[in-house]
Amino acid sequence: MAQQIGQPVKRVEDKRFLTGKGNYTDDIVLPGQTYAHFVRSDYAHARINSIDTSMAEEAPGVIAIFTGQDLLDDGIQSIPTGWAIGDDMNEPPHYPLAVDKARYVGDAVAVVIAESKADAADAAEQIMVDYEMLDAVVDAREALNDDAPLVHDDSGTNLVFDWNLGEKDATDAAIEGAHHVTRYEFVNQRVIPNAIEPRSANGQWDAARDELTLYTSSQNPHLIRLLLCAFVWPDLPEHKVRIISPDVGGGFGSKIFHYPEEVVCAWATKQLERPVKWTAERSESFVSDAHGRDHHSVAEMGFDEDGHIVGLRVQTHANLGAYLMTFAPAVPTYLYGTLLAGQYKTPTIHVNVKGVFSNTVPVDAYRGAGRPEATYLVERTIELASKEMGVDPAELRRKNFIQPDEFPYQTPVALQYDSGNYEGALDKALEMIGYDDFRQQQKEAKQNGKLLGIGFSCYIEACGIAPSQVVGALGARAGLYESGAVRVHPTGKVEVFTGSHSHGQGHETTFAQVVSDHLGVPLEHVEIVHGDTDRVPFGMGTYGSRSISVGGSAIVKALDKVKDKARKIAAHKLEAAEEDLEFSDGEFRVKGTDRSVGFGDIALTAYVPHDYPEDVEPGLEDTAFYDPANFTYPFGTHICTVEIDEETGHVKLLRYVAIDDVGNIINPMIVEGQIHGGVAQGVGQALLEGAVYDEMGQPLTGSYMDYTMPRADDLPMIEVGHQVTPCPHNPLGVKGAGEAGTIAATACVVNAVIDALWDRGVRDIRMPLTPERVWRALHTGGDGALREAEPAA
């Protein structure tokens, strides 16, 4: 049978999506369905004096109205965050519905449940909330001023944590003693993930059995169940709860977290004994889905006379919004600070991160989560340094790369890189873009008054999170292993249950390829089951590019167990010793003979064990949990070219080349698709996207009218190439490919624009690089003094 791993197998999930038969949460309508509408604060910061629901209660179709107090009175607790930074992290409660104060525009304060969506929405308008407006704080640095309004009164400060990593004294000394220091202030602006499927939840209580089923558009249904039952609703027994995440229309991180609406739909259905559904309207998503990024950083990179990096010092303010979401504390710390070595031999690094509350939508993981922020900072800095020092940007990087024979490589910021060949990827990318030719073209273009630029991004990421012991020591409140279960049916057909969740990644295909090769069964005989806590034993879900490296490894482990048992049965049938058997193409064969037994036969024997080995149980299924030995470290080089229209400031992306090393590849078609999509999101942040708040905390980007994402005509074709350095510590040699594009692209595009404008005195432009900002920078000469290039709010 043809090997499946490595082939661009077409996706098995496509048929249902292409015929309109997908099954997304909002498509589900249950008998007796009711509809929830949330009343959200219009103020960024306001005390809730009272909530008058009397008029709304009389409105047509209304079934019930609940406020935060109702939930509290019934024992509903705060939604916890999954990660603690230090022993004394500032961690005020996060109730599903705000009780004392509303802390951001969009904070839900009440919910109306009615017979129809329209009835619920109409009634919600008749709820009178008596708010006392309070001063709001939006900017993370301002939130630390002594006179800043407190987002959470009892904490006495807006500081969530003050976190350090690396050697401070050594780094200070290295920077002081450096021959050249490149120092910049970078803003990694707030962006909004915007999966095209709006979030949705539908709770169904079965009163006869005291059981809850919750459908929710989540990337990790088991994690939602765990948080709900272990923390938020302690009276709800976990074994009586089923969480189903059916087809999910994109996540990009934003559907990891346990959201208030899930709690409310779950709790309300029990009160009403009717199913309760909520689906966000897009403008509601803008103020209720967790946002991403929002860092303000100062970076100083020191070099010796030869251009070797001697140290990196970073100070970052991370805006976490009004509450701590599930992964929020980990993103600007362990997923960011640990990546600041990039691909370089930086002898000493020190980073200080202040995580800060503000009156804005909570911020958490968004595709890449911390790693794009680190890459942006490192890759912008080294590129600016090359220009300051008059060295070619590719050469400066090459000089500082960790070399292939230096792995495993211990960085000064905790990680131990397992493998890599950075120069290989850079060379490939240079060749693909035609570097020397482009520099020539650029010169000629300049003479004709045209502005061309080329930008680099040599990124590294740590993904496949993560070894449970390691993350436990770093403050994670959960383990980050994955489960996989393999059930072989009597006819030899195989079902595989995975704790990973696909919301576009195509697991139903890639995982089936792995199973097909391991058991020698045709792809069509394999079914991948995911997204249902009743069917899948346990799972930690999909984020951090972990599905294939952690989830896939768990499946391989379970497959190995099944194969071991099958071997025992085969040995019995063939009357041979187990050691004398070899397995290939779905058959066990006695080595050096033509005596063999097929996998299908063995499966049947396992369930009809008439003639069967004595010490073996009937049946053929097994479960495995896989806890990774280390992170995986995908890396690569992205290079893009741009042309800038001097008259309008418009940036045109001419070419985009991506060379990624994501280890072994199961399905190149799917991996390339992941890179394309990732790059598009990174380009989006560089050129188009940005969440904007005014000083009062009002979001100015509240819908697709004023928040721009890349459309088909904003992007060129993306030229993708691979290099393969297998991951040395997991069975498939895979690393994960979901985030690479986003991690690399943002710095790459901005570097290209600065390259085009360097001779015009432009050193930095704040993202997104809109035509207006580029035009202003061109005409004011940006020297890194960002404010000048900034249009007045």
Partner: protein, 162 residues
């Protein structure tokens, strides 16, 4: 206040009693259970809801159901003919033009309209024609290729003039 409407949906006569404010997309999804047409925004900008009204692509969130009274609507569920996938449906699968699948029905319906009026569009024309449809997953690269694939297939299959 309900209005009685008669709409031919995917070739079948359908009737419904709708409120004046009921959107066409709500009528399709909620009254007829045709959940292949999606809703991705509330400002008519994502294109997840694109269907054909009398053969032309429209955003079904931009029309009231009553405006479709007496008209013909085709949704993604009605695109395959006699169990045979439309070349665009084939193309999206062959070229991996979809990931999460949420934008896909609207994307396919918008592309079908393009190929109707322009059977062999250039890359730029495809990108321009799909500008009203957001996809957050694919970066559009494979969507463009899927449309090119379908255009070629449709040309090949076009009966040659005798």
């Amino acid at each position: 206040m309900a209005h009685s409407i008669h709409v031919t949906v995917n070739g079948q006569p359908r009737t419904g009693d709708v409120e004046p404010r009921t959107l066409l997309v709500e009528f399709l999804r909620e009254d007829l259970g045709l959940t292949g047409t999606h809703v991705g925004c509330d400002t008519s900008q994502c294109g997840a809801c694109v269907v054909h009204l009398n053969g032309t692509a429209v955003k079904a969130c931009t029309l009231f159901a009553v405006q479709a009274d007496g008209q013909e609507v085709t949704t993604i569920e009605g695109l395959a003919q006699n169990g045979q996938m439309h070349p665009l449906q084939e193309g999206f699968k062959e070229e991996h033009g979809l990931q999460c699948g949420f934008c896909t029905p609207g994307m396919v319906m918008a592309a079908a309209d393009l190929l109707e009026s322009n059977p062999s569009p250039s890359e730029d024309e495809i990108r321009h024609a799909l500008e009203g449809n957001y996809c957050r997953c694919t970066g559009y690269h494979n969507i463009v290729r899927a449309v090119q694939y379908a255009a070629e297939k449709m040309q090949e299959r076009e009966p040659q003039p005798a």
